[in-house]
Structure formats: structure tokens, C-alpha cells
Amino acid sequence: MRSDAGKGSRFFGPPAQTARLMIYGLVAVVLMAMDYRGGFVSQVRKTVERAAEPVYHVVEWPVRATRGVIDQFRSRHSLRMENEALQQQILLQQAELQRLETLSRENERLRALFEGAQTLAFQYRFAELVRVELDPFSHRVLIDRGSADGVVEGQAVIDGAGVMGQVESVYLHFSSVRLISDPNHALPVQFSRTGLRTVAFGFGETGALDLPNVPLQADVREGDLVVTSGLGERFPGGYPVARVASIVREEGQTFAQVLAQPLAALDRGREVLLIAPLEAAAEEPPGSPSESRPDVPPEPEAEVNP
């Protein structure tokens, strides 16, 4: 009876088979627990994941190739139309920028008067999402910039509308970004209308963030803009994160239940920006106060003289 023999005797027999199931199962569970806790195993994992890079290249290649072909065959007309639309957009945004520049200069002068902290200048780096399907429960995306492009761990990632997440691990030409919707992600934020500071937690939904530490009586309204507060030193301050979607104030609770909808397209974005503090910014702060200092003293003198 071949089928009977096949049931177990090839190696040791059914008990050994069950034992092997138990051992491998146990190893898997232990690995999961350790990976979840984020200690040694996560470090090893990050190193080993570098080996996945060629695989990502292979998977991504057909997509890239088709896109290249489609781009080749796009008509001149549609390109020109797009070009025109983009130029109009640039013009509009430049007009906006001019206004913003005077504002930011004014802001800087005021800050200097108060001897407040200098705002850092930031450098943006364009990156694209790599079309590789990761586990939907991992709340991570891959971007096509890696250590070869100077990406470092912990860098903030935004898209045109708001904050997306932060760089978690960096490979040579890719890096993986932990999204703000991850249950383990907490983002220091503040309400831009009132300045109230709180923390935004992800809870596994790409369409919502949880703001659990908002006092019951706090002045929060639906539609309020939530921006990064710059605390925690990972994310620079002032970037839009989400809009308050719902507030539930229950009697007897200490905190209101506030849910906010992320502004960034967490589940469908394509292009993202990596934010890095400009290196030149490190030299600027000593320079600009010394420029503004001489400005301040002459004024009193001018008042004294007459």
C-alpha cells in the first residue's frame, strides 16, 4: 500500500510530522511576537529585506516599461495641452508664492525681534511610489529613492496635500515608508485654528486618524485643519495632516473622541516629496540674527538723538 506508506514513513511517521508542525508553528509565532515588539528580529529583518530589492526591481519593471511605452505614444496635442495647463498652474502658484515670500520675510523679522527660534529652510526631494503590492495590513509603501539618493531613516514624507508618513528603512534604490495610518504610528500635531496640541494616532484605516487626547471642552470643530506641530523632531512643523471629520463628546468622559481624515492620498497617491532640512540652513541661523541685531539697536538711538 503505497498510500499508507506515504502517510508518514517517508521520514519518521505521523507523530514526527505533527511535531514538525508544532515546532515550525511555534517558531513562526515567536518570530511574529518578536517582530511586533520591534527588537532584534526587526533589525535582522531590515537587513535581510535588502535582499528583496532585486525582486522589487523585477516586479516593477513591466509596469515601468508599459508606462514608458504609453508615454512614447502620447500625442503631441495632448502633451501641449498638458504643458499649457501646467504653465498656467505655475503662474498662479508663483503669484501665491510672491505673497507668501513677503509674509515669510515679515514673519522672520518678527521672530528675530522676539529672538525666537529660527525657522529652518527645507529641501524637497521628489520621489515616486514603487508599484509593488505590499501586505495591505502592513501600512507601508515603497518609494523609488534609497540610500544612493541620500535618503535617511526617519525622514518625513509628504504628498501635495499633506503628510504621508516617515521613512522606515532605506535600501539602495528603494526605501519603505511607514504611513501615518499605521496603528503603531503617532504624530505630534496641533489644530491650526486654536493652536491646541495633541497627538494623532493611526489605527489601521487609511481614511482616518484618531486624536484621543483632546479635552472635552476644547474648542474643536468639524473641518478644522490639523497640522504637524514640529514636536518630536521627526516632522517639521506646519505641514497639513488632516481635517477633523467627527467629534463625539460624551458626558462623563475626560476626552472627546475626535476623528480626522488625512489629507494625503495614503492609499492612492503616486508622487511624494521627501523633506530634508537644508544643510545650508544650519549655517543660516547664526547669520540672520547677526543681520537683524544691528537693525534693532539703531532704532532706539534714532529716537534718542532728536
Binding site: R2, S3, D4, A5, G6, K7, R10, F11, P14, Q17, T18, R20, L21, Y24, G25, V27, A28, V29, V30, L31, M32, M34, D35, Y36, V41, R45, V48, E49, A51, A52, V55, Y56, V58, V59, E60, V63, R131, V132, E133, L134, D135, P136, F137, S138, R140, S176, P183, N184, F203, G204, E205, D267, R268
Partner: protein, 170 residues
């Protein structure tokens, strides 16, 4: 000692198995529109089950574990999640292999559906334990899609295997 196949054929089969597993692995990483992603079957499990039914002693629980770990590394899921799920699937298939092989096709399909749903339950358990909210109902679509695809996958893999065997025989 079992009746052994000539070593040449056995070696050839291993590479065939490796190629199909690699393709399954790449398929699970393939970028897809979201509606397709929602029903995308568990390729690695399907291919492993096929080889487990068709060959003897090649697909071990250890191999399933290795495939699972690779899948975890590539897809970025919790390390060990897919490993555990594949280990359980392959253990069950291997255990009842002798019986499953001679089931009529529709009965095999029912068993496969049960296996895949059971696997989803295990994954759900891991997902909720790690703090994610309960996924939506389309979480249960991949087992159904996988079951519907099974006969075709079976035919394709059979053809491929046959072609490879003929090539190595000639």
C-alpha cells in the same frame, strides 16, 4: 523504501517546482488595480498545495515555512504570519494527501475552500492581535477566487509539468 523515481526526473522536478513557486511569489507582489487586489488569490498557497498533492516528500512543512518567511519579507507583513499560515495548510494537505488525491474534483474544491477559509481565519487572528481593526468583508473574497481558479491552475501546472518532463525525457 518507497519506489523512487529515477534521479534525473526528480531533479528536474525540483527546478520546475522552484520556478512555479517563484512565479507565485512574484504574482503576489504584482501591482494591481484595487478591485483585483481585493480578490487576488493566495498564489503561493495554491501552488504549494498543487505540488504537495502531486509529488511526494518534496513539499515539506519546512519548505512551506521558508516560502512563508520569504513572502513575509517581500510583502512586509509581520514576520512569520505567512509562514504560520502556509505551514498549517501544507501540514493538513500532507496529512490527508492520500485521501485528497482520490477525491472527485468537486469534493477537492470544497476541501480547498475550507483550507483557504481556515487560513483566512488564522490570518485574521494575527491581524487583530497585532492591533489592526477588523478588515472589511472583501477580506473573505480571495479564498473564493482561489477556489474558482483552482481547476485552471491545476490544468496549467499539469501541462507545464508534462512539457518539462517530456523535455527532460527526450
Amino acid at each position: 523504501m518507497n519506489v523512487r523515481l529515477p534521479t534525473g526526473i526528480r531533479r528536474d522536478r525540483r527546478s520546475v517546482i522552484a520556478v512555479t513557486l517563484l512565479v507565485a511569489l512574484l504574482l503576489s507582489l504584482l501591482p494591481l488595480p484595487s478591485w483585483l487586489q481585493a480578490i487576488w488569490p493566495y498564489w503561493v498557497a495554491l501552488v504549494l498545495v498543487y505540488w504537495c498533492l502531486e509529488t511526494q516528500g518534496v513539499i515539506t512543512v519546512g519548505l512551506a515555512f521558508t516560502c512563508g518567511i520569504l513572502l513575509d519579507l517581500f510583502t512586509g507583513s509581520l514576520l512569520g504570519q505567512h509562514a504560520l499560515s502556509l505551514v498549517i495548510i501544507i501540514y493538513l494537505v500532507d496529512r490527508f494527501r492520500a485521501r485528497l488525491r482520490f477525491f472527485p474534483p468537486w469534493q477537492q474544491l470544497v476541501i480547498l475552500l475550507a483550507l483557504l477559509v481556515n487560513d483566512r481565519v488564522i490570518q485574521l487572528w494575527i491581524i487583530t492581535l497585532s492591533g489592526d481593526p477588523l478588515p472589511s468583508l472583501d477580506f473573505w473574497l480571495p479564498p473564493i477566487a482561489g477556489t474558482l481558479l483552482w481547476p485552471w491552475l491545476f490544468i496549467v501546472l499539469d501541462r507545464y509539468r508534462g512539457a518539462m518532463r517530456r523535455r527532460s525525457a527526450s
